[in-house]
């Protein structure tokens, strides 16, 4: 048993704030209302902070620590197919791809949402459709993300959700 410090407080705060903000705007607030906009601005702020933190943050928070690598992602798929158990201390290669996907999607949501409030795009139909399509894409991605976390937690014997709360991974 080995306890490794992986996620710094900012990463964890970012993660769960984004979760809360997405749930709020997807299910609780009404599109077009003030709260929906405020939550959207919060998302934009969160993404900006995370992007900066990805350059100057702690080791596993930095983008350099989880650059997208198809080769490594394939290696992880191979591990899953053969039941091998190689623990990635920071983000796993497949996890990294999902993070970039979610960062881009959330940024796209915030941007298209903001665009709808501007004079140039107010009431423009394709912008609304883009915003809605991104919501569906985000929902699909989140479902996949949660499923993958459950599968990987079971395969590796590490409680990954817990590590996003405490910041520590307990590796056997």
């Amino acid at each position: 048993m080995q306890k490794i410090r992986v996620w710094d407080p900012l990463v964890r705060l970012f993660h769960w704030s984004l979760v809360a903000a997405f749930i709020a705007n997807d299910f609780l607030t009404k599109p077009g209302r003030e709260t929906h906009r405020l939550v959207g601005y919060t998302v934009a702020g969160l993404i900006s902070v995370r992007l900066i933190w990805g350059l100057v943050g702690t080791q596993h928070a930095r983008f350099a620590d989880f650059l997208p690598s198809p080769r490594a992602a394939l290696g992880q798929l191979r591990d899953m197919a053969t039941g091998r158990r190689h623990v990635h201390v920071g983000h796993s290669p497949l996890g990294a791809l999902m993070i970039y996907n979610l960062l881009l999607t959330m940024a796209g949501l915030a941007a298209s949402g903001y665009a709808m409030t501007t004079v140039a795009f107010f009431g423009v139909e394709w912008m609304e459709e883009l915003h809605e399509a991104l919501v569906v894409w985000a929902e699909m991605s989140i479902v996949l993300h949660v499923l993958a976390v459950v599968v990987e937690s079971r395969r590796l014997g590490i409680n990954l959700p817990k590590s996003m709360v405490t910041g520590y991974k307990t590796v056997k």
């Binding site: 191979r78 197919a81 053969t82 158990r85």
Partner: protein, 184 residues
């Protein structure tokens, strides 16, 4: 069986071949079809919300969704098979990897080995020690021993040498015990 042979990771012809057929095309196709499936499911739920439940409208969409799901399942299976095959070959199985691999795959299926057991069996046949296998697979030595016991039990052999000789017999195409075996 505790002799320890260092794992040498040389760039063999197999390795190069493995690198050439990376299944990115297949993975892209699976992802695309998953996306299509999700789209149809989303569309169907939206139609239901709007009360558009005419049979002529729903039936083709449902059929398309079912077709896509079946396609994804089949492609997923072949992807897993491909990944396992590559996992077997990546460390350089040596000269006979093509034929040996086919024979091994056949037996693994016949013995109903689990994916983990197949992986351990491959490493064992290659001559890796238990410690090597544990390291390669990132698991405890006890776990590897458990897998090995299951492999030997399912194959009905006493140990590694008997396991290997089953494969060698097949590769040489000379059934020694009068058992019918497919031609190599």
């Amino acid at each position: 069986m505790t002799e320890s042979r260092p794992m040498v990771d040389l760039p063999s012809p197999n390795r190069l071949k493995v690198q050439r057929d990376r299944p990115f095309g297949l993975i892209a196709l699976i992802l695309f079809q998953c996306f299509c499936t999700a789209f149809f499911v989303y569309d169907v739920t939206r139609d239901l919300d709007e009360g558009l439940t005419s049979l002529f409208h729903m039936l083709p969409e449902l059929a398309a969704t079912v077709g896509l799901v079946i396609g994804v399942v089949f492609e997923g299976r072949s992807l897993v098979a491909l990944l396992r095959r590559q996992a077997r070959m990546e460390k350089g199985l040596g000269v006979a990897s093509g034929a040996l691999n086919d024979v091994m795959e056949g037996y693994f299926r016949q013995w109903a080995l689990t994916p983990a057991e197949q992986d351990v069996a491959t490493f064992t046949i290659k001559g890796c020690s238990i410690a090597d296998i544990a390291q390669l697979r990132g698991s405890a030595e006890g776990t590897v021993k458990t897998h090995l016991n299951a492999i030997y039990r399912k194959a009905g052999v006493q140990g590694r040498s008997q396991l290997v000789s089953i494969l060698i017999e097949d590769l040489m195409g000379a059934p020694l015990i009068g058992k019918e075996k497919p031609a190599p």
